[in-house]
C-alpha cells in the first residue's frame, strides 16, 4: 500500500457528460483533485504536468483507444510507472486479463456507480505495492 493517500486523479475520457459526472463524484464524494483530459493524444503531456497519483483510462475513444494510450505511457519514463485503471463497457474477461498482464492496476466496468467510484479506486490503490 502506498504511503500517501490517493488524492490526484487524471481521467482520460472523450464523453463530456461522463467527464462531468466523474469530476463531480471524485471531487464531491471522494474529495480528490481531478484532471480531465478529453483528447487522448494530449494525455501524456497533461499527465507530465499534472503528476497524478493514478490514471483512469476510458477503453473506447476516437483517435486513440485506452489500451493504445496505455502502451504509449509505458514507453515514456514520466508516465511508465503510473498506476492505470481502465473504465470499460466491453469488459470481456479475456480483455481484462490481457490488460492486467500488461500491468494495469485494475478495471472498473461501465456503467459504474458514481457514488461508489471513489471507494473502488481507493480499494485498487490500497492493493498497489
Amino acid at each position: 500500500m502506498p504511503a500517501t493517500p490517493l488524492t490526484r486523479i487524471c481521467y482520460v475520457e472523450d464523453d463530456e457528460d461522463i467527464q462531468r459526472i466523474v469530476r463531480m463524484t471524485l471531487e464531491r464524494v471522494g474529495k480528490m483533485t481531478v484532471e480531465i483530459v478529453g483528447d487522448p493524444t494530449l494525455a501524456i503531456e497533461a499527465m507530465t504536468t499534472f503528476k497524478p497519483d493514478l490514471v483512469m483510462l476510458d477503453w473506447m475513444m476516437p483517435k486513440m483507444d485506452g489500451p493504445a494510450l496505455f502502451r504509449q505511457m509505458k514507453l515514456r519514463p514520466e508516465t511508465s510507472s503510473l498506476p492505470v485503471v481502465f473504465i470499460t463497457a466491453k469488459a470481456s474477461q479475456h480483455d481484462l486479463d490481457e490488460l492486467l498482464r500488461l500491468g494495469a492496476a485494475g478495471a472498473i466496468s461501465k456503467p459504474f456507480s458514481p457514488k461508489d467510484l471513489p471507494d473502488q479506486l481507493r480499494a485498487i490503490w490500497a492493493k498497489l505495492p
Binding site: 464523453d15 457528460d17 461522463i18 459526472i21 466523474v22 464524494v29 463497457a89 479475456h94 458514481p114
Partner: protein
C-alpha cells in the same frame, strides 16, 4: 530301377484314360436305373413280334418237315405247343402294350418275358430231344441246323437282356446236348461237348450286346436328365436376365433421379476425379462461379480456389483421398470468373467402391458469403449495443445516483421521487441490455466460463448481502437455512452470483410485504443444492412450461410494476447448465414457490475430470 521310367509312362496313360472314363461314368451315373431297365424291357417287348413270327414260321416249316417220318400225334402235339407259346407270347406283348405300369414296374414284365423265353426255348429243346432221329438221317442235319439257327436268332431278339437270352438258349441247348451225349456215337459225343461251348460264346456275345444296350440306355437317360437340367438352368438364367434387366432399369432410374437432384439443386454440385479435376458441374455451380459447365469440366477444380490457398487445398485433398473419408463444413474462398471472391462451405464426399477404389468425388458447395457478412454485422451490432447504449446510460444513471445519494445537497421531496423513478428505470434498461447481451453470448456459444474452486456457502451469503438493499425496497428480508459443510464447488463465481441475484430478486419481487425469502442450502450425495423460497402467489399453470424461456413473464403488468426483463430465468438455466448443474422449481407447502439449482461438489467434479 531300370523299369521306373516306363512305369511312370504307363502310369500316366491309364490315369488319362480313367479320367475320361470317370467323366463318362459320372454322366452315366446320373441315369435313373429303373428308367434304364424300363427302356430295356420296352426294347425286349418291341423285338418280341419278330421272335413270335419267326417261331411261328419256323415251327410251321419244322412241323411240315417232321410230319412225314415222325409220330403224327407227337408232331401235332409239338405244333400245338408252338401255337400255344406264340399265342401266349402275343397275348403277353398285347397285355404289355396296354399295361399302364410298364414303365413303373419293369421287373414284373421282365419276369413274364423270361418265362415266355424259357417256354419258347424249352419247346425247341423238346423238339431237338424228341425228334432227333436215332439213325443217320438228313433230318439230323435239319434239326441241328434248326436248333443252332433258333439259338443264334435269339441273340438280336433278346439282346437287351442277356439273362433272358441265357435262359432261352439253355432251354434249347440242354435237352439237345443230353441227346447228343447219350447217342453213343463219337461224333455226337464231341458235338455234345462243343454245343455248351457255342452256347457259352453266344451268351457271351449276348452279354456284350446287352452291356452295349445297357450303356446306351443309361447314356440316353443321363442326357435326357442333363437336358432337363439345362432347361431348368435356362429358365433360371432367363429369370435372372429379367431380374437383371429390372435392376438395370432401377439403377438407371436412380441415376436419373440423382442427376435430377444435382441438376435442380440450389447448391453447387461438382463431380471430381481423384486428381481433383472437374468431370461434371451442375447449373447452380455455373451460376455461382460464373463459368459455363464446359469451361469447368476437364480442368482442375483449383481454378475456383484462390491461389494462396492451393497448398492448403492439396494437403486436405490428399488427406481425404488417403483416408477415403468425407470432409464436411470446410469454408473455402472461391474466386468467381469475374474475379469477385465468394466464401463457400463445402461438403466433399469420395464415392468409394467396395474394393476401395474411388469412383469419383462429389463436392457440394453453398455460398455462405452473405451469411458470414450477416454474422459479422451481428457481432458489430452487439458490440455497438454494448458500448453505445451503455455509455449514455452511464451518464444518466450516474447523474441520478449522484442526485439521489444526497452528496450534492438536499433536494425537494417531489423531485427526489421522480429522480428515483428515473434512476430505477435507467437501471432496468441497463439490466435489459445486459441480459440481452448475455443471452446472445450464451446462444452464440461465446460465453466462456472461468471456473474456480470456492466455498458455495460463502457465495450464497455474499449474494444475500448484495441483494439486501433490493429486498428492502420490497420490504422483504433474506434468511439463510442449513449449511453446506463448507463444501466447495468448481464453477464460475461471477456467473453463479448472477444466478443467485436473479433468483433472490425474483423472490423479493413476488413476495408479500414483510415476509421472508428463505434460502435453503443442503447437500445430497455429490450435489450441492440451493433453494430460494418465497411466499408469493405461485406460478400459474399456463406459465409453468415456459418459465425458463426467453421473455417469459407470467403477467406483463408485473414487469412494469416490479421491473425485470423476462430473461433472468432463461439466463439462469443456461448458466447453471453450463456449469454441469440443474435448475428447477416446485410449489412450496403452505403457498409460494421454491426455485432451486444443484451443482456438483468440487471433489466430485475433480473426480469426474480425473476419470
Amino acid at each position: 530301377m531300370a523299369h521306373t521310367p516306363t512305369a511312370t509312362v504307363q502310369a500316366a496313360d491309364p490315369l488319362t484314360a480313367s479320367a475320361a472314363g470317370r467323366v463318362s461314368a459320372s454322366i452315366r451315373d446320373r441315369a435313373d436305373p429303373r428308367l434304364v431297365l424300363a427302356d430295356r424291357v420296352e426294347q425286349l417287348y418291341s423285338q418280341m413280334w419278330l421272335g413270335i413270327l419267326m417261331t411261328f414260321a419256323i415251327g410251321a416249316i419244322a412241323t411240315f418237315e417232321l410230319w412225314e417220318n415222325r409220330l403224327e400225334e407227337l408232331v401235332l402235339f409239338w405244333w400245338g405247343l408252338v401255337l400255344f407259346i406264340t399265342a401266349s407270347s402275343a397275348g403277353l406283348v398285347y397285355a404289355y402294350r396296354r399295361a399302364p405300369d410298364r414303365a413303373t414296374n419293369p421287373e414284373q414284365w421282365l419276369r413274364w418275358l423270361g418265362i415266355a423265353a424259357l417256354a419258347n426255348g424249352a419247346n425247341w429243346g423238346f423238339a431237338g430231344a424228341v425228334f432227333f432221329p436215332s439213325h443217320a438221317d438228313e433230318q439230323q442235319v435239319f434239326l441241328a441246323f434248326l436248333l443252332a439257327g433258333m439259338m443264334s436268332a435269339g441273340i438280336p431278339v433278346y439282346a437287351a437282356s442277356w439273362p433272358i437270352f441265357a435262359i432261352y438258349a439253355a432251354g434249347i441247348v440242354a435237352p439237345f446236348t443230353y441227346v447228343l451225349a447219350t447217342f453213343g456215337n463219337r461224333l455226337f459225343t464231341e458235338l455234345a461237348l462243343l454245343v455248351p461251348m457255342f452256347y457259352a460264346i453266344n451268351v457271351a456275345i449276348a452279354y456284350r450286346l446287352s452291356d452295349v444296350f445297357h450303356s446306351g440306355y443309361r447314356l440316353r437317360h443321363a442326357y435326357g436328365r442333363l437336358t432337363d437340367d439345362y432347361s431348368v438352368l435356362n429358365q433360371q438364367l432367363e429369370r435372372q436376365l429379367v431380374e437383371l434387366d429390372e435392376a438395370r432399369r432401377q439403377v438407371e432410374a436412380s441415376g436419373r433421379k440423382l442427376a435430377l437432384f444435382a441438376e435442380r439443386a440450389p447448391i453447387a454440385v461438382l463431380e471430381l476425379d481423384d486428381k481433383a479435376r472437374v468431370t461434371q458441374a451442375n447449373p447452380a455451380a455455373e451460376l455461382l462461379f460464373g463459368y459455363a459447365s464446359a469451361e469447368l469440366v476437364g480442368g482442375p477444380v483449383k481454378r475456383i480456389v484462390r491461389p494462396e490457398y492451393h497448398a492448403e487445398f492439396d494437403r486436405q485433398w490428399d488427406a481425404m483421398i488417403a483416408s477415403r473419408e468425407p470432409v464436411a463444413a470446410i469454408k473455402v474462398r472461391n474466386p468467381r470468373k469475374d474475379g469477385q471472391d465468394l466464401v463457400c462451405e463445402w461438403a466433399v464426399t469420395p464415392l468409394v467402391n467396395p474394393d476401395g477404389s474411388i469412383v469419383s468425388v462429389i463436392a457440394q458447395g453453398q455460398d455462405v458469403t452473405r451469411q458470414l457478412e450477416a454474422e459479422r454485422m451481428k457481432k458489430e451490432f452487439t458490440s455497438t449495443l454494448s458500448h453505445e447504449l451503455r455509455t449514455p446510460l452511464t451518464s444518466i444513471i450516474g447523474s441520478l445516483q449522484l442526485i439521489n445519494s444526497g452528496v450534492l445537497g438536499e433536494i425537494d421531496k417531489d423531485v427526489a421521487e421522480l429522480t428515483t423513478v428515473a434512476e430505477r428505470n435507467g437501471q432496468r434498461l441497463l439490466d435489459l441490455i445486459n441480459d440481452i447481451l448475455d443471452i446472445e453470448k450464451i446462444e452464440s456459444g461465446k460465453l466462456t466460463m472461468t471456473p474456480e474452486v470456492f466455498a458455495m456457502e460463502e457465495l450464497v451469503r455474499e449474494a444475500m448481502l448484495l441483494n439486501k438493499a433490493f429486498g428492502e425496497r420490497f420490504k422483504v428480508r433474506f434468511q439463510a437455512h442449513g449449511d453446506l459443510d463448507g463444501r466447495p464447488v468448481f464453477a464460475d463465481r461471477k456467473r453463479l452470483l448472477q444466478v443467485m441475484t436473479n433468483l433472490l430478486s425474483n423472490a423479493a419481487k413476488f413476495s408479500p410485504e414483510d415476509s421472508a425469502v428463505d434460502v435453503q442450502m443442503s447437500t445430497d450425495g455429490w450435489a450441492i443444492r440451493v433453494a430460494v423460497q418465497d411466499r408469493g402467489p405461485g406460478i400459474p399453470d399456463a406459465f409453468r412450461n415456459r418459465i425458463f424461456g426467453r421473455f417469459a413473464q407470467a403477467d406483463s403488468t408485473a414487469s412494469r410494476q416490479k421491473g425485470g426483463t423476462g430473461l433472468g430465468l432463461a439466463i439462469c438455466k443456461r448458466l447453471v447448465e453450463m456449469m454441469q448443474g440443474h435448475i428447477g422449481f416446485e410449489d412450496r407447502e403452505g403457498g409460494g414457490t421454491s426455485f432451486w439449482f444443484e451443482l456438483p461438489a468440487a471433489a466430485n467434479r475433480e473426480k469426474v475430470t480425473r476419470n
